[in-house]
Symmetry: C2
Subunit: 112 residues, 2 copies
């Protein structure tokens, strides 16, 4: 029984958004979204950052489960976890929906 896809709350969502809150990390995710799993050196290319710097970012992304990694020989291949992005997306969805509902109720009151 995997608990991987339960809903995020303020406490669990914050680290995920924090992980998304960096240009370089978003760039890494965008790279991974484009196709196959990629190794650290591959992801380092054209990133304007040292390999160790990239590793740090990938560690953060992995800790928040936005990516997963798999060792293949001497390489480590990173894969985007789109379901995790989905969880973050749904969190925002709920917040904005709640607000829109509140506004809607308020307007009805005013109209009466």
């Amino acid at each position: 029984m995997s608990r991987r896809t339960r809903e995020l709350n303020a406490t669990t969502a914050a680290p995920v958004f924090a992980a998304l809150g960096d240009r370089k990390r978003l760039a890494l995710l965008a790279r991974l979204a484009n196709g196959q799993p990629q190794s650290i050196v591959q992801l380092t290319r054209g990133m304007g950052l040292s390999r160790q710097g990239v590793t740090k970012h990938l560690t953060i992304l992995e800790q928040t489960r936005l990516v997963t990694s798999e060792r293949v020989g001497r390489e480590i291949r990173f894969t985007l976890q789109s379901n995790r992005l989905g969880e973050a997306k749904r969190y925002l969805e709920r917040a904005s929906q709640q607000w829109d509902d509140a506004i809607g109720r308020l307007q009805k009151l005013v109209e009466k």
Copy 2:
């Protein structure tokens, strides 16, 4: 011609996610999502934080346009901007969709 609701890219999205990447700030947004615009002292209540601390968080939320403020007498009322949340949501939507599409194409290739 307002440019407020154009699409986010990696550069413009990062600060928004960074703003969302803090428990306290998510709590503030949740509060604002519950109903009417609220002042700083109101938002401070039960936050376990000094008024100035809350002000700092609200400043960050306002700089990224997740909230707007309006002066009313000696108070400042903060309002949630649900469309901004929507922009962030759509950014995540695109990334995960792109990945899912890539995976789909890959599987088709394998099946052949």
